[in-house]
């Protein structure tokens, strides 16, 4: 997939790798900056001193086995959970301090966050009202994710693939610069995965930044240009795809080795 190679914008970070803190911070905030982030649930250390920084325009896979701490990291990043220590910033601010979050960040954490008795269109309209987005934008995103014909049906009649698209439509309402998707390919059939890949590629080609998590490397390998690998709460690897495979091993080998080979 040559189309996923780094663009000029993405190579600002060339050679540094995403782990290192942005050298030209100050001139432009990184899209995401996570510093010594720790999140503890009672005895469980869900996220343990995680640090990384993602430049604007990058497409990053956030990989790790189930229970590694991906969702928890994203929840803190999106202001849904408070960190135990450390911080997670989007565009230089805490999510809750963004002036108009929907126009900066679009996120999907769960694939089924809908009231089953509400139509897809009304779900989007309610979010648009809250974010003061014109209702014409609802029609636009419905067209963008290709679920217009089902828009006035109740969500309970939607297939999983349609729900994923509706979730994505909600994330896109404000025309965000950054998309954060948690396991978006989970349960999708091959055509759904294919659609999602080409969608993300298109979003990135227009300059968007993407952070997409998955417990399956193969799901994102064709879409992303750099990866973060988290295991048992700790960031165990990060870097550009081509660098990680340059050591003469397949990416799969690297991933399995890093995550204990149980994926």
């Amino acid at each position: 997939m040559s189309a996923t190679g780094p663009t000029a914008a993405r190579s600002v970070n060339d050679g540094a790798g995403p782990l290192l803190v942005d050298a030209d911070a100050g001139s432009r905030d990184p899209a995401i900056k996570v510093s010594s982030l720790t999140k503890r649930y009672g005895e469980v250390l869900a996220v343990d001193e995680v640090t990384f920084s993602l430049d604007v325009g990058t497409v990053t896979g956030f990989l790790g086995p189930n229970g590694a701490g991906k969702t928890t990291t994203l929840r803190v990043l999106l202001g849904l959970a408070e960190p135990t220590s450390g911080e997670a910033l989007v565009f230089g601010r805490r999510y809750g301090e963004l002036a108009d979050p929907a126009s900066r960040v679009g996120a999907v954490l769960e694939s089924n966050d809908f009231h089953p008795g509400r139509s897809g269109r009304d779900h989007l309209r309610a979010l648009a009202l809250a974010a003061e987005i014109p209702s014409s934008r609802v029609d636009e995103v419905l067209a963008l994710v290709e679920i217009e014909p089902a828009a006035d049906r109740r969500v309970k009649t939607y297939s999983l693939g349609m729900r994923q698209r509706l979730g994505l439509a909600a994330a896109l309402l404000g025309g965000p610069e950054l998309l954060v998707l948690d396991e978006p390919a989970n349960g999708l059939d091959p055509s759904g995965v294919h659609w999602l890949r080409s969608f993300l590629r298109g979003f990135a080609e227009q300059g968007g930044t993407v952070l997409v998590s998955s417990h399956l490397l193969a799901e994102v390998a064709q879409t992303v240009d750099q990866i973060l690998v988290i295991d048992r709460g700790r960031l165990v690897a990060s870097g550009r795809l081509d660098e990680l495979t340059a050591r003469g091993r397949t990416l799969e080998d690297v991933y399995l080795e890093l995550t204990g080979g149980t994926s």
Binding site: L78, G79, P101, H115, R118, A130, L173
Partner: protein, 248 residues
């Protein structure tokens, strides 16, 4: 805040939950008032305070269902996961809770008015059919029709607060029903010393607002102020509970 109010109004209108609750409430009002109005012996519905009690089923059921509207406005977001997109577009969580309080109070007032009007109308008709003189004057009717919506609006706010604290739908709804249908009945029951305290309970305050049982309960104006304090406390507690705790 305007934006959140409009969003919450649309959320309420775009499912059948509110209409279903309204229908259920009106059915119960009809049932309760007809049962009492037609079924009770004439000597038990002849006095004004007895008639107020029958007509007051409207206020009671209006308050109960308004509380359910308020509670569901927040617990259903946790149940179905819509709380996540809701908070992603409005990270200022206090605004979300405040919008739910105002919109639920507005809809709750409508529920209260519908229930009180139906109870007063059907109750009057039932007694009239039996040839029992109506002992209530215009002021009594006015208090029923004004107190019902006021009590229901305040109870809707209490429902939002309780739902925001508990988050879990079933315990919230069961707790609300159990309190109003059972616990308060014991508090304002036959034990005089308990009733002395029980009249300050929020359900009893709602009944007092619509003018019921003036012998035992507080005066309507005092009751309205006290119930408003309960509502404010509920809304503040709910706002704090939503703001301070993580959303999984």
């Amino acid at each position: 805040m305007r934006a959140q109010l409009r969003a919450e109004l649309l959320k309420q209108r775009s499912t059948t939950t509110s209409v279903g609750l309204l229908a259920g409430m009106l059915g119960l009002v009809l049932f309760a008032v007809l049962l009492h109005g037609l079924g009770l012996p004439a000597e038990n519905v002849g006095g004004s305070s007895e008639q107020l009690m029958v007509f007051g089923r409207g206020e009671f059921l209006g308050a109960l269902f308004a509380a359910l509207v308020g509670a569901l406005s927040i617990t259903s977001e946790f149940r179905h996961g819509t709380i996540r997109p809701t908070l992603l577009v409005t990270p200022r969580r206090g605004r979300v809770v405040a919008a739910k309080v105002w919109v639920s109070a507005f809809i709750g007032a409508g529920f209260g008015l519908a229930a009180s009007a139906l109870a007063a109308g059907v109750g009057t008709a039932a007694l009239w059919v039996r040839g029992i003189d109506i002992q209530l004057d215009g002021g009594d009717y006015a208090l029923l029709l004004a107190g019902g919506p006021a009590a229901a609006a305040l109870w809707a706010a209490i429902g939002v607060g309780l739902g925001a604290v508990l988050r879990n739908q079933v315990p919230t709804l069961v707790g609300t029903c159990a309190w109003l249908l059972f616990v308060e009945g014991l508090l304002v029951g036959d034990i005089a010393d308990v009733a002395e305290v029980g009249r300050f309970a929020p359900g009893a305050l709602g009944e007092a607002i619509s003018g019921q049982d003036p012998g035992t309960l507080l005066a309507p104006g005092v009751a309205a102020v006290l119930l408003a304090l309960y509502a404010a406390a509920g809304a503040i507690a709910g706002s704090l509970a939503i703001t301070r705790r993580d959303v999984a």
